[in-house]
Symmetry: C3
Subunit: 328 residues, 3 copies
Amino acid sequence: MRMPHAETLPAGATRGVAVGLFSASRHLLGLDGMPRTTLIEILDAAERDLAHLAADRSPRDVLRDATVVIAMFEDSTRTRVSFQIAAKRLGATASTFSSHGLSLSKGETLRDTLRIFEANGADVIVVRHPSPGAPAYLAGQVESAVINAGDGMHEHPTQGLLDLMTLRQAWAGRFDGRRIAIIGDVKHSRVARSAIFGLTTLGVAVTVAGPTTLLPTHVERLGCTVAATVDEAMEGADAVMALRLQRERMDQGLLPSLAEYTRVWGIDAARVRRMRSDAVVLHPGPVNRGIELAPDVADGERSVILDQVANGVAVRCAVLRRAAGRDG
Amino acid sequence: MRMPHAETLPAGATRGVAVGLFSASRHLLGLDGMPRTTLIEILDAAERDLAHLAADRSPRDVLRDATVVIAMFEDSTRTRVSFQIAAKRLGATASTFSSHGLSLSKGETLRDTLRIFEANGADVIVVRHPSPGAPAYLAGQVESAVINAGDGMHEHPTQGLLDLMTLRQAWAGRFDGRRIAIIGDVKHSRVARSAIFGLTTLGVAVTVAGPTTLLPTHVERLGCTVAATVDEAMEGADAVMALRLQRERMDQGLLPSLAEYTRVWGIDAARVRRMRSDAVVLHPGPVNRGIELAPDVADGERSVILDQVANGVAVRCAVLRRAAGRDG
Amino acid sequence: MRMPHAETLPAGATRGVAVGLFSASRHLLGLDGMPRTTLIEILDAAERDLAHLAADRSPRDVLRDATVVIAMFEDSTRTRVSFQIAAKRLGATASTFSSHGLSLSKGETLRDTLRIFEANGADVIVVRHPSPGAPAYLAGQVESAVINAGDGMHEHPTQGLLDLMTLRQAWAGRFDGRRIAIIGDVKHSRVARSAIFGLTTLGVAVTVAGPTTLLPTHVERLGCTVAATVDEAMEGADAVMALRLQRERMDQGLLPSLAEYTRVWGIDAARVRRMRSDAVVLHPGPVNRGIELAPDVADGERSVILDQVANGVAVRCAVLRRAAGRDG
């Protein structure tokens, strides 16, 4: 790419000069290997954003000079809306791209598409993609900061961070000595993977339970223990995270029936009572009511599912600010 | 849902405290049963918004601290664009959601989806849904104010309000003693239903005419009279509203042919001359030119179809302000 | 359309009064016949916008009182995102409409849809449409300014302008005496047509080359010369523009195979070396890597493809300002 004269720099070109400001640490690709201090920094920043969101609901000026492109190469509702609202509350110029029937179907490479967004002036590109590792690959190809909004079965780091934020609120700020049960389809869940990486780094004991066909082989290597039953996993726990059951697991022969799944692995009020009296119930959504969670549990007083959503906007404010170099 | 400490309230949580500000009257679910004084209040507010829109085309600050989610569970062009422009002109943070192939296809309940928008900080949720009563049900489930943007064959209240606003302009402010003819597929029309509710409340005499198969049984119970022919309905009227003919009515065996419909029920210039000399022609759009309206009528000097559209932005400003508690 | 009283003018109505401000010259329908002075004016304005975009990345106020509707009746990624970002950087109220499965499928005429946008208050309507001439037709039907964002095989004037802007930067401001080769499917390319109109007006010599089946009959009438081979076309040129090869040309029997196309008409490093030592490589995107351009050429130091994208935002700022009457 040729650089024009300084007085006619294209919108994106100044970033070429100032690339040092957009070091690798501006990207958010996953929670695997993220140091404890970085996790805590982001959670603290997100709490400040949450306070801002509650105190003054007008858009801020903090990202007024930043352009955010939200690029969804896979269906998304919740995550897209959450990032859109976060970007707008920070005052950023935000533009959303969905690949359904658009350019990529014309055979353009993913890298070329991201470079187009960069050349359009994107400071931050939020990417959801069905291929594990796509955001990490792209982070090496563009100078824009890249935020992973879910890549196949790999990671969904902003979801992991909002889980941590919600647990820290429920647990009065203390992670050490806590124990959480994660129930269901851990094998195919990027949500579970990001949560496990963050939780184990922060010293939380993680117990997983689910059908053998839906647990990763060697799940212990993620730092978890495996329980044989949901009752055993939840006994005395400080929290439980139910994972969404994808119905296609039945078609794939990984599960005999929904009814059996619910009986064996579903979380009802009786099972919730096995946990500590102040324990909370998380779910990444969307909930299959009556399958992985009984309706009275999903809506019960132990449920922090809607807190997760509200915290999600705050976490995304924090990571957008960080990606744009405004996490001060 | 657990409430975190006051200093870390999530974005949506303050509304839990201040729920009294979002009383049932903030919702706009339909015009059925809406008192005359409320109708007039909204029309007066919409006129003020119309003057604002004409005098200063920059975004206002009135909803700068409000978040509006426009949730379309059914195709929409006109209504979506109109709400988007209204929200942006008021300075609100607006985010649009369409359900085509998105989360609801994953089996999430409608209620859960709306609660997600609420937890994302939505003060006002605009909902279009194919099921009659969906917005009313949802209004009882979330603390956000809910505006019905069309629910099945039930109501489309902002369309009804813009019809009233357009008629009041054409009729020099006076509804009493006026008479309007509504022609066509009243049975399947939420537009007709909302208009009839508002018009009869304001003292306008409503005459309907159309194929027997496309009139509701007991249509008189809505407060209308039924005319046998379109000529009889329009004779001496102060306005006529042509309804859109859905082509699938033919496939359903409710109509013999388009040509016959146009000959018997279509509105041409000769029929327009049966009305009073200052009478106007309304249509909710999109117009099937040459079917329910002759092209020279749709574009003629009696047509107020484009005024309806311009008034639609003003009405949506007024109802958004009302929903957010800023109708002062 | 009846005009309401002055004190209650609908949003769009003031434009009816001030129609003189929106003369035909506000529209941007194509580069065919556009005078040299107008081309240069727009390029100069775009350079000022580019400097603004680089110097201050916050939204400006220049179009704060303007509403822009981006109406896409055909798939678009790059052009849509570029117009959205340009509109937002200028501070305009922007709303995007895509026709996929929306109102037009209900049989509404295109003209009616545009008039709806106008009545919603659109000062500028950006239109992409599969039918050649659709934007020109619409420009005569609405008072909003119309910008052609691509109409069938006819023109894509903002793309042509960004090509001119990129070449002027590469060529140190001088068009006279320059020569460009345009390679590939000229026949079906609105990009090529707009570029050829602009280039020939500015005195650039244009040589085209490509399979006979993909060149327009009488292409010389566009002011070009035709070369028999790509080597001949590129020999000593100051720039080459490779056009995108649509794969459906194979199915249409216009080409024997991709492999043969690449061998005969593809641009590799050896062919680039036939040009002058400071010549540049353009491509409208998306690139079929390894077909019309070798990967090392697309990413090489002669490539100005990403400059084209960055210039595209600036050009769209300039034409939006011009359309809204703010090109001062």
